[in-house]
Every structure is written in structure tokens, then in C-alpha cells.
Symmetry: C2
Subunit: 398 residues, 2 copies
């Protein structure tokens, strides 16, 4: 039965995996213009998504914290890899030509002297290197080793995160195709879900079935899938599944960050289990309309604050008592969440080819939260839906 499992979204072509050398050259050239403006001689990258963005290199080995991996993006020319020997054969398949290795793990000097000499060999124009030390980034290496490396380098190391996010925040057409594809796979699976599950099953059962179904439909992985249920709404949206069984009157909330070729979707769906209270339908409708308003507010030139406001008005009028999510959507790409945030004070100017989530939510009574979410790409005129729009009426699980 597993043999015939692979389904493909209706009428959609599977995007070609990986990206052309021209695409990586384009990404790098754009990065270098932004680096020039920020006065960086190079960017030093350690995190999986940043490494993948510039090289196309992926590894299952990110799960192991033992070895650090380094990519250097200089102000001119192609990126340079400074990596454990174990990764060299695969890195050689990317567009990178300059690949330097050491026989990791070597706790006494796990690549740091090689990294230092490599960076010293890069032309100095500004005397400043950008690293992943700021907002929404974490350095994938021991901080103590980073600090002693920084001390010995001789160039200043400053926060490259705003620069890296400026680069990654605007997607290429090929990136958007990838995200669209995984959004369609998850849309199909969400639509099919009521035929796979029934009241009485546990949240954990639901997740297992949906994970399997999304894999059958061609997703590579499902790193994120909270499924939470509760009478008329849920108490939180980021932990679970638990063993709780679905009961009549419940809202079942499921969110997923599944991936295709490294790119995430990130959107949720809500289901009514049997017959839910009338109030739930009213709140659901308000959030459906808030989502419409959020989508409509996304136009090049608007800010993330504008998008927040567009949703807020409707949510507050509907009687929200609190929104502890702290924002109403965010960027999306090689990571489940990326900058910017639709949040008061975020102030990011929206530009063409950003990919964003629109995520209004509200707690309408204590412990009863409902959250909607869609994914969109910003176009010249406004936005294009990457997900298939959630049904206006709650789908029912019997």
C-alpha cells in the first residue's frame, strides 16, 4: 500500500529541486551590494538556512551539534566554504570552488585557525566582518570559541543580521515557486483531513495521519505541526499534540511548517468537531474577514504596522480579550518564521517578492483562542495567495 502513495497537487508541476548557478550568482551579487552599503568586507555564516541560501548545500548533519560549518561571503567573488572534511564531497557538488576542510571534530581547534587564515586572506576595504549575532539569529557554534576567534582575528566583527535579513527577506521567483508548491501540498492535505479522522481520536492520532499524508503528497519533512483541541477554542497554539481525544463542540487547530527542498509553508486550519457553539462561528467569521483585510493591506509601500492595523480593527470589534501571540504574521522562506513581523512598531516597508504570513488571532473568552493563517507573496500590485484560502465555513469532523 505504501508503493502507490505519492500524490501530486492537482495540475501543479513539481518545481525543479535546487537552483541554477545563475540564481546563486544573482543572490550573491545582491548581497554584495547590500554589504557594500553596510560596510562589510565579508559575511561569516554558520546557520543552516544562511549556508543553504548562498550555496545550495544541505546536510542531514545539522542535527548533530558536534561540528561547526562556516561559509564566508566576500565583497567580491563567490562564497568560500570552511567545513569539516566529512562534508567536502557534497559541498563539491555546489557552485562553490573554494572549499577548505579540517578533520573535525578537533576540540582543540575545530576549524578556527583555518577560518581565521581564510578571512585574513580576503581583501580589506572596511575592516569589518558581519556575523549572525543579532535579532532572530543564533550562531551555530560555541559562543566561547566565537569570542576567542573574534579576539584573534584583527578585523572588527559586527552584527550582520539586519544585512542578512534584508538579503533573504526578498525572494526570487524560484524561491516563491518552492514555497507555493509546499503550500499547495499542505492545502490539499488540510482539505482531505476530515475524511481521515473522526471524533474520539486523539490529537496525536491526527498529527500522525496528517504527517503521513503530507509526506505521501511529496513534502520532504514536517518539522512543525502543533495540533491542539479544546471546547470552542484552544488555550495555546505552539505546543502539542497531546493525548487529548477530540470531543463534540471542540475546535481542532492544526498548524504546519512542512518543507519542500528546504522551503517552508506555515499556515493553520481550524475544524469544528461535531457541533460547536454559535459564538465560535461568529469569531471564526471575524477572523476570516480579518485575514481578508490583512491580505488586502499588503501592497508594496505599506508597512508591517499597516497590515497589523488592518487586522486589529476587525479583531477588536469582534471582542478580543487578548492576543498573546504578540504579532499577526511574519516572513517565511527557508525558515518557518523570518522577519519582518506584522507588529506595532516593526515598521518594515513591504516590497515586491516578500513572502509573508497573515495570521490574525484572538482569545474571545478565557482559554478560548482561534487563529487563522494564510501565506502570500507580494506582487507589484498587491499580493498573491500561495495557500488555498481557508473555507469561510468551518469544516466539520464527525
Amino acid at each position: 500500500m505504501i508503493e502507490r502513495m505519492l500524490l501530486v497537487p492537482n495540475g501543479l508541476k513539481i518545481p525543479k529541486r535546487g537552483f541554477t548557478q545563475a540564481e546563486f550568482e544573482l543572490r550573491t551579487a545582491r548581497a554584495q551590494r547590500i554589504m557594500q552599503r553596510n560596510g562589510f568586507d565579508a559575511l561569516l555564516l554558520t546557520a543552516p538556512a544562511n549556508v543553504r541560501y548562498f550555496t545550495g548545500f544541505d546536510s542531514q548533519f545539522w542535527e548533530s551539534p558536534t561540528r561547526p560549518w562556516f561559509i564566508i561571503v566576500p565583497l567580491e567573488g563567490a562564497p568560500i566554504a570552511v567545513i569539516p572534511e566529512i562534508g567536502a564531497p557534497e559541498m563539491a557538488l555546489t557552485w562553490l570552488k573554494d572549499i577548505r576542510t579540517w578533520p573535525a571534530p578537533v576540540p582543540e581547534d575545530d576549524g578556527l585557525s583555518l577560518l581565521t587564515s581564510t578571512i585574513r586572506g580576503i581583501p580589506r576595504k572596511f575592516g569589518k566582518i558581519g556575523a549572525e549575532i543579532g535579532r532572530e539569529m543564533a550562531l551555530r557554534m560555541p559562543v566561547s570559541e566565537f569570542l576567542s576567534f573574534r579576539e584573534g582575528l584583527g578585523s572588527a566583527i559586527e552584527d550582520g543580521s539586519p544585512c542578512i535579513w534584508e538579503i533573504r527577506m526578498v525572494k526570487t521567483a524560484a524561491e516563491i515557486d518552492h514555497i507555493h508548491y509546499i503550500c499547495q501540498i499542505a492545502s490539499d492535505a488540510y482539505e482531505a483531513l476530515p475524511s481521515l479522522i473522526s471524533a474520539g481520536e486523539s490529537e496525536r492520532d491526527v498529527v500522525r495521519k496528517l504527517r503521513i499524508d503530507i509526506a505521501r503528497r511529496g513534502a520532504d519533512a514536517t518539522p512543525f505541526m502543533p495540533a491542539i483541541s479544546g471546547p470552542g477554542g484552544v488555550a495555546q497554539i505552539v505546543c502539542g499534540p497531546h493525548d487529548r481525544a477530540l470531543e463534540d463542540g471542540d475546535i481542532l487547530f492544526i498548524d504546519t511548517g512542512s518543507t519542500f527542498d528546504g522551503y517552508f509553508c506555515d499556515f493553520d486550519r481550524n475544524y469544528a468537531v461535531g457541533r460547536v457553539a454559535d459564538e465560535v462561528h461568529r469569531v471564526h467569521e471575524a477572523l476570516w474577514l480579518a485575514t481578508e483585510a490583512g491580505i488586502a493591506a499588503v501592497v508594496p509601500g505599506a508597512t508591517t504596522d499597516d497590515v497589523w492595523w488592518a487586522m486589529s480593527r476587525i479583531i477588536e470589534a469582534a471582542g478580543a480579550i487578548v492576543n498573546n501571540v504578540g504579532r499577526r504574521g511574519h516572513g517565511l522562506g527557508l525558515q518557518l518564521t523570518e522577519p519582518p513581523s506584522h507588529r506595532l512598531g516593526d515598521g518594515t516597508r513591504i516590497v515586491e517578492n516578500m513572502v509573508l504570513t497573515i495570521e490574525p488571532g484572538m482569545e474571545y473568552a478565557p482559554g478560548k483562542m482561534i487563529v487563522h493563517e494564510e501565506n502570500i507573496a507580494v506582487t507589484k500590485e498587491g499580493s498573491r495567495l500561495l495557500t488555498r484560502r481557508a473555507p469561510r465555513e468551518l469544516p466539520v469532523i464527525r
Copy 2:
């Protein structure tokens, strides 16, 4: 067809999810003895595995880099949580009583002033806090924010990683039960695999089927599954799957780190596609014997170097030209790889209740590598196999 998918390993009871309060108290008391010896007033934790180890708290939200989460383990009493509001309802379900929150994300002060005041409220005996800044750890927060927090704190922050690894390296009986269970699930799936796949299918097809099968058998997730094929051996073991189709004469190498309730297995299996060269059988047998020798070398009191040597002798006699993996096994638990490493110079003394991988590998000809792997728990007398031992003869895919 998905409805009847859940299989359970033969005769094995599903371990109870989560752990008792007594277990968390025991972990914390042991940690505090080790902290006392190392002169730490508290441990500051940000990484998912460390947070989960002390609290039982898990979140799908680790995928989002937007918000930092903090757990403080003081020298006396229970851990304290300093976390985003969005996580409070779930943290309240753990054994922790002292949970402090802020309305994250707030880029101007994302929990740092709350963290500072919380740590300042902890009794000072040594004037030193341990943080995850050393080997095989990465701080899950922006380094620039960590540095300014450190500057303002008034207590020294030093490397707590050796202390944290000493705590986590020795498992409780309940932890070993968890790892044993996921090892058995993966063992079943590996044994069933030849009946699910055939020559001509791609590495990617194989991974999809095996991922689905492992999910059906009760694993929660499969964060790690490289599958690599090549004539008589593979060029590397950490990247892939690719679109390469399995051909007669190939070795198909598959490794998996799947999880049950947060705990990983980490072991591989090799398959012959059709008829492989005689030499492959000879190398396979040498590695099978090296694994036996590695397992036999694990006794309390031996060192990781001893385990390395026990395998090396056999591998070298078999004609290894290189081993670019850099070690021959490692610790295993809440992460795919943990200290110690079976590596010359590692020098870790093996003690009862460690969980270890035994992982001899060799490149016997350029680009032709074969690697074996099993998972064991250390007992009073020696070791107990958690995986079902790999067959001595290569299973064949037709």
C-alpha cells in the same frame, strides 16, 4: 488505509510519555551536586534539549528563531522559567511553579531585563553562572544580546557546557526505556524495508517510504534520515537523499535519527542492491566484527579511546584507506549526537547508564565507504544492545 496504520514493535510496551515529578527532582538534585562541585550558583539554559531535560517542556515553536526562552537551574530548589507569554499555558503543565513571562517578541528588550532581575534574585554563593557557551552547544538567542546581558548582570558567566554534559551524559532508566523503544521501532522498519522498495527507485523514494513506515510504527518525528547509494559503497554519509536511482551492485546506506517523546535513536543499515562485488562482503564482515569489538570494549571504567582502539585494529587490518568521519561513535539521547566521542584523545571514562553509538566505518577504495552503527546502554558488567543487531549478511534489495 491510513486508519489502520499504527503498528507497535513486537511485545514491547509503549513507554509512558513524559516523566514523573520524582524523576525531574532527581535530575535536578544530581545537577545541583555537579554544579556545587563546579562552583556555579545557577545554570542558564536556552537550548531545546536542555530546557526539556530539566522541565519536560517541549514546543513545536523551537522552529521559530524569533523568541528566546530561558530556564534557570539554581543551586537549590526547582528550576525557574523566564519565557514568552505564548508558552505560559504549556509551561504551567510541567512541574515548574515559578514561571515568569514577557509579551515577546519585543526587540528592544526580549526578556533580558526580566532574566537579569530573576538571576539577581538567586542566592549568590560562588558569584558564577554557567551558560551553554562551550563544546557541542549553541546558545539559542542572539549573541549580541547575550553579551550585553552578561555585561549588565554583575555575576560572572562562564562555560557551563562540561557541567551540563556531565549531567545529561548519564541517563536515567526511564530515558533508556525511551531510547530503546525508538531503536526497536527503527529496527523493525529497517528489517521491513527490502519488502517495500526495489532496484530502480530513487534514494528519495526510499526515504519517503521509510519515513512513512517509521511514522506508522509510532515514531513522533524523523529529523535525520540520510540515504545514500553508490557502487560498492558511498562517497559520504551525511547528505542526501538525492534523485539517484538504485542500481545493481550498489550499497544503499540509510541512517536514521527518529524520535519518540523527544529521545533519538541513531543507527544505520546497509543493503546490497542485487549482486555486489565480493570485496564488499569482505569489508561488510570486517565492519560487523569491528562493531562486535566496539560493543565488547564498552565496560564501566574503560575510556572512549579504548573503544576507538578496539574497532581501529580490525578496520585497519581490513585495509581502510581513510575515515573522514573523525570518530567511531558518540553519546545519544535528547540529541542525535551528544558527548562523548569514541576518538583518540577524547579520554572520557565510561560509566553505567551512558547511552552510546558504536559506529565503525571505512573507505576501502576511493569514494567507497561503508559504515555500521548500533546503539547500546552501558550496564554494570558491560553493555546492552538497544537496537536489534544488524544482520551479518547484507540484506538484498531486488
